[in-house]
Amino acid sequence: MIAAETLVDIRDAVRSGTRSAVEVCRTALDRIAAVNPSLNAFNTVTPERALERAAAIDARRDDLRDRPLLGVPVALKDNLCTKGVRTTASSRVLDQFIPPYDATVVRRLEDAGAVIVAKTNCDEFAMGSSNENSAYGPALNPWATDRTPGGSSGGSAAAVAAAAVPLALGSDTGGSIRQPAAMCGIVGLKPTYGRVSRYGLIAFASSLDQIGPLTRTARDAAIALGAIGGADPADATSASEPIADFGAALTGDIRGVRIGMSEQLLDGVDAAVAAAFHAALDVLKGRGAVVVNVELPHAKYAIPVYYLVATAEASSNLARYDGVRYGVRPAGIADLRSLYSATREAGFGAEVKRRIMLGTYVLSAGYYDAYYLKAQQVRTLILRDYQQAFEHVDAVAMPTSPTPPFKIGERVSDPLQMYLTDVFTVSANLAGLPALSLPCGFTADQLPLGFQLTARRFDEAMLLRIGDAYERDTTWWTRLPPIASR
């Protein structure tokens, strides 16, 4: 079995000259080629571009040695625009799309010394909780290839879990970084809304979307966030809050840190998930954290609020796919109106259509107040629940997903059941809060489990500090699936 190599291990090896960026890059490309036939985790791999870039880093290593991601191979969710590299959002409608620009996070990763090696599979337009809505077929879980890696950033999570890359970026609108991280046994961070520029992220629900890292450790996530975060003139919702030295927060000391949890919320949660969650809280208590009960009375409304707000925003954002400026246009269309509808009929999958339909319905005359406005009001109450909780605690803990990874095909015919998968993750998006998922155990049949911490706005440092402290007393993060030794 190979060791669980972290971003820090790889970067330090390149910094010290023990390994060249080209060697590291070749290893990542070999690993991708070895695992992808089993996992379908990658939509596009860019070996020439990556090796060229790695060679350029090696040529300037002395000048670049302080870069925080020096020589680190990175995979990007395929809804992040990469100049000159096909970017599909796993949708047929963008099958041929080659962006004329880089997302801000792409520029920042490269400035930090990273080498982008591939674009990862995901649910179409990031809409899904199992990666089964991809136009290119589902990515599969490295721990059990008959199961979902989670979604929507399933390919990014599978890529890191299978040790193909130490860092992947995903996007999280309702749990799409954290849930696949939990289901693949790795770390996933959804930053505070506004912390990371969304410029170049293919939009799903603009008041909820946020880009973040999937990594093996909290420390790696801290370094990645430091590299990609911060204000950006190209995204008016990006925040001017300064980027802290997240690495400096990782002291291992969480004595007196107050962590809230709600036993009530665990009703109906899988027994293995609940047991692993309680064991994780015991580890934190063992390091001196204080666990107290918190009330989140509106948490049970998070799913209905989320699926109204997110679909409404999606119906508006996806209006741009009309077959005019980009996208795949069906042949032989004689009039403009048919051009729009035929493009969308041929280009979108079933879940995307379902969400556009729901969003259009709840925004339409006669239903706006009863659904969309109502959902926005309850969103305010969910936000207030957290504000009140954070008067007493520094973080709120809950499981990331109510179940372990489920089987491919198990939930596809029942959209509502699939939506309930997101019960613990959507609140952080609705309230704009940062949240971190950490691996916390396995089921009896070796399926990974995770738990999640949520903190005050812009207090990712607290999450990362708790996460790092937790990792010092646990070894879950060091475990690799058998496929990683292939």
């Binding site: 799309f97 080659i98 004329p100 809304y193 912390r195 603009s206 008041s207 008016a236 919702t237 990006s238 925040a239 001017s240 809050e241 509106h298 409304y301 209905p304 609020v305 699926y307 109204l308 119906s315 009309d322 400026r325 980009y326 996208g327 246009r329 269309i333 004689a334 009039d335 403009l336 109106r337 729009y340 509808s341 035929a342 969308r344 009929e345 079933a350 259509k353 379902r354 556009i356 339909m357 729901l358 259009t360 339409s364 009863a370 659904y371 109502k374 959902a375 926005q376 009001q377 309850v378 969103r379 305010t380 109450l381 959209p415 509502l416 939506y419 309230a431 704009g432 706005r457 812009f458």
Partner: protein, 102 residues
């Protein structure tokens, strides 16, 4: 709220969304959207009298920038993704769509 939408309701929403659904999709969405709407109806048990809506949760304030002219994309780069474009004309070219008038 009835647990199922009528096919006519589904078709009306599809028209608003510029979606062309086949009859199977119409039947499926009539049932599924009805189920989802019945589920979200639980929000009506929450008293929201006087509660302001939250549209998004901002940071320290929107990041304004000065209104100055800055370089944008090359026209040719943008047109490169168009399913149909005419690049031979004035100013670098146009997106082409089916005839709209006459």
């Amino acid at each position: 709220m009835p647990a199922e939408l009528t096919p006519a309701q589904v078709e009306a929403v599809a028209a608003l969304a510029n979606l062309e659904l086949d009859s199977q999709e119409v039947d499926l969405f009539a049932r599924q959207l009805g189920e989802i709407l019945a589920y979200v109806d639980q929000l009506h048990e929450v008293d929201t009298t006087g509660i302001p809506p939250t549209a998004y949760v901002a940071g320290s304030g929107p990041l304004d920038r000065n209104d100055v002219v800055a370089p944008s994309f090359e026209v040719a780069e943008v047109l490169a993704n168009a399913p149909d474009a005419d690049t031979s004309r004035l100013e670098g070219g146009f997106f082409r769509v089916p005839r709209v008038i006459g």
